[in-house]
């Protein structure tokens, strides 16, 4: 009699399915949330990269616009006896441009902001024959670099 009863209850017990389903749902929920978060953070990263690219080329465009204006000035003064002086005077009318004299022309330097922390710095040499040469065209950080003094360790003296 006892043996027959045991035979009837053998197999999947009551509650086993509930436990398994709760476990499966928990696993699926965790995976779903993780994949959603991963896709979201990837999307946010792409947005940041896209915005940076947009800002960088907007600054690059402004810097090129200044270059075209400076080149126009240099072209108009081509062959002039007072090229450097006249160029400096004319270039000063453009905001943010500083000019240094060269033996056969002058160098104009200016920077255009990309964002709060970075700028595009340009250094262009303009020559008396109306030509120009870009010496530097690079992105720089606006923050000043502070050298780390290092750890304050005992130097062996009392």
């Amino acid at each position: 009699m006892n043996g027959r009863k045991q035979q009837k209850n053998a197999g999947i017990g009551v509650g086993y399915i509930t436990v398994m389903i709760i476990f499966a749902i928990l696993c699926l929920t965790v995976f779903a949330v993780l994949s959603f978060r991963a896709a979201g953070s990837n999307d946010a990263l792409n947005d940041r990269a896209g915005n940076y690219l947009k800002n960088y080329y907007a600054a690059d465009m402004s810097a090129k616009e200044i270059l075209s204006r400076l080149d126009e000035i240099a072209f108009e003064l081509k062959g002039s006896a007072f090229f450097a002086e006249s160029f400096e005077e004319e270039a000063k009318t453009i905001e943010g441009v500083s000019v240094k004299s060269l033996p056969n022309g002058c160098t104009a330097e200016y920077s255009v902001g990309i964002n709060d922390r970075q700028s595009i710095f340009a250094s262009v040499a303009f020559f008396e024959n109306g030509e120009f040469k870009i010496n530097e065209w690079k992105s720089i950080t606006n923050d000043t670099f502070e050298d780390d003094p290092g750890l304050n360790v005992w130097d062996g003296t009392f």
């Binding site: 999307d43 270059l67 030509e131 870009i134």
Partner: protein, 133 residues
């Protein structure tokens, strides 16, 4: 003697039905979350390819200031964008005595939805490209 008709098997079936109901409801919610993640991931991939393409266009355009030539070079070097993505351009050229300043705006749309836009520029001296070092 009458035997009892109540069996543990009935309880098992009731539990299974309730569990399956709960599982199907939860499964529907979880599937929609997965679908959302997949949609977001695809959108991210598209945006990433558009950004890479834009950067290539900007770099080539800054040297020649010619949209058609730029697209020819970029398509040959980087491949074409997905067919679903359409590119609208707006090019503006300002000439002075010394050279030509060109401004190019590209607008990328996917199924009529604007996904990205950016503006780049070029300055080309008359008689050739600039002397960038």
């Amino acid at each position: 003697m009458k035997r009892s008709t109540k069996r543990p098997l009935n309880l098992f079936f009731i539990e299974m039905i309730i569990s399956l109901l709960f599982f199907s409801i939860s499964g529907a919610v979880i599937l929609s979350v997965f679908a959302g993640a997949d949609k977001k991931s695809r959108a991210g991939e598209t945006l990433e390819s558009v950004i890479v393409f834009s950067q290539s266009v900007a770099e080539v355009y800054s040297l020649n200031g010619d949209y058609d030539e730029t697209m020819k070079i970029v398509s040959a070097e980087c491949g074409k964008l997905d067919d679903k993505i359409t590119v609208a351009k707006d090019e503006e050229k300002t000439e002075n005595a010394a050279g030509t300043f060109s401004k190019l705006t590209l607008i990328f749309t996917e199924n009529g939805r604007k996904i990205y836009y950016f503006t780049c520029a070029a300055y080309v001296k008359n008689g050739g490209s600039d002397e960038r070092t």
